[in-house]
């Protein structure tokens, strides 16, 4: 079993979003995307805002946007702890554009470093969401 499938788990603080056996997952790691196939060497990595591609039956079965987090990979398992996760199809472009505008505005309008950081994070997440919508689908 472990030879043919990776047990992929996606968890957000609110709930366990996904737990299934898949062929491969591509995770947007902090230092570049990485694919996880069965037998991957154990590692722990940060995750940047981006899209997780889940492969089953030779193609992409789902694309899930995550707003950063952590990934733990073992030989038979890949666990992603995401800060926020939603399907790429569910992203509402207009809403994200408004978010981005607000974030950029807040960024300029404050001197408080912690608020600036929060606004910057929001901007980064919003830009990543937009990029996720426009990104081509792996075949």
């Amino acid at each position: 079993m472990a030879d043919t499938a990776v047990q992929f788990e996606l968890v957000s603080p609110e709930q366990l979003i996904l737990s299934e056996d898949v062929e491969m997952v591509v995770v947007p790691g902090g230092e570049g995307d990485f694919g996880v196939l069965p037998g991957h060497s154990p590692m722990i990595s940060t995750v940047r805002p981006g899209v997780i591609h889940v492969f089953t039956d030779g193609g992409v079965s789902s694309r899930i946007f995550v707003a950063g987090g952590f990934a733990e990979v073992t030989e038979s398992r890949c666990t992603v702890l995401a800060e926020e996760a939603l399907s790429v199809d569910e992203i509402d472009r207009a809403e994200v554009e408004i978010d981005l505008e607000n974030a950029v505005e807040d960024l300029g309008g404050t001197d408080d470093p912690s608020e600036q950081k929060a606004a910057e994070n929001r901007a980064v997440t919003a830009r990543a969401k937009l990029a996720a919508i426009d990104a081509p689908v792996y075949q």
Partner: protein, 303 residues
């Protein structure tokens, strides 16, 4: 002896109180189910986070260079207590228990010559503790659970704690909340947040063991991308928010359980009171009738 009218008025007022308490019980029961589900569905994340952090922390070779959230400041002079209470009352001993624990703990720390600061979540805790510890309370955070606790709120509380820590305002941070045991029992649980204690979830022997297993068995085998310390720098604040969130969810579920039990009691007491008043009312009515009969009969006999 009260007049019939007075008794009638009392019975009506107790009845309407009973209606309110039984409605509150029903609402609390419905919320409890949701809160319990939420607390349970949040558990996988907290557990996995703990496992991951445990294995990263165990593999840090040079503790001195580790982020201060893990290593601590090396002192324990100033303690910060985060006290989770409710915004609303009518939930039995929920807030009283937390407040009692806090009072004892603060007194013990103060008598040891430590400095104590309090960050209170919930209006009730503030009103219970400000008499004795008014000057120690640095702030009260209200309306955290409307209609249910969200992760954003937890994250903002956590980032506030981190900022204070970075500014050197305290050395040790402990959060105290009511852990949800069952609908009828809640347990006051203190948990040290900063510096990170390996047995952070300490109450569960299983959890602790799992964390240790992960720490000992897997630490050597993992590759880290980026370096351990960089991962730690991100993981630790993250873990802090998760632990705060977990405490909020547990506390919220406990609150609903406590309120349900308290309101169930109140409804039952109101029922008993109504029974007693009704018997009283009937007796009084009977007495009036008997007296009137006696008056009529003795009047007739006198003729």
């Amino acid at each position: 002896m009260p007049s019939l009218k007075e008794l009638r008025v009392r019975i009506t007022s107790v009845k309407s109180t009973q209606r309110i308490t039984s409605a509150m019980k029903m609402v609390a029961a419905a919320k409890l189910r949701r809160a319990q589900e939420q607390a349970e569905s949040a558990r996988p994340y907290a557990e996995r986070m703990e496992r991951m952090l445990g294995s990263v922390a165990a593999s840090v070779s040079d503790v001195a260079s580790a982020p201060p959230l893990l290593a601590g400041t090396g002192k324990d002079d100033v303690h910060l207590l985060v006290v989770m209470t409710t915004d609303r009352g009518l939930c039995g001993g929920f807030n009283t228990n937390i407040a009692r624990w806090t009072r004892q703990h603060v007194r013990a720390l103060v008598s040891d010559g430590k400095q104590v600061k309090l960050l209170i979540v919930g209006r009730k805790g503030q009103s219970m503790l400000r008499m004795e510890f008014g000057e120690r309370i640095i702030d009260t955070i209200e309306d955290t659970a409307k209609p249910a606790p969200t992760f954003e709120t937890a994250a903002s509380i956590a980032s506030r704690i981190t900022t204070m820590y970075d500014d050197g305002e305290f050395d040790i941070c402990t959060i105290v909340y009511n852990r949800f045991e069952s609908a009828l029992s809640q347990i006051v649980t203190p948990q040290q947040l900063i510096p990170f204690a390996q047995d952070a979830s300490g109450d569960d022997a299983n959890d602790e063991k799992a964390a240790k297993d992960a720490g000992a068995g897997a630490s050597a085998a993992y590759e880290y991308e980026p370096e351990e310390n960089e991962i730690l720098a991100e993981l630790l604040p993250r873990n802090l928010s998760i632990q705060v969130f977990r405490a909020m969810l547990e506390s919220f579920a406990s609150e609903q359980g406590a309120r349900m039990a308290a309101m169930d009691n109140a409804t039952r007491n109101a029922g008993d009171l109504i029974d007693k008043l009704t018997i009283n009312y009937n007796r009084t009515r009977q007495a009036f009738i008997t007296r009137e009969l006696i008056e009529i009969i003795s009047g007739a006999e006198a003729l």
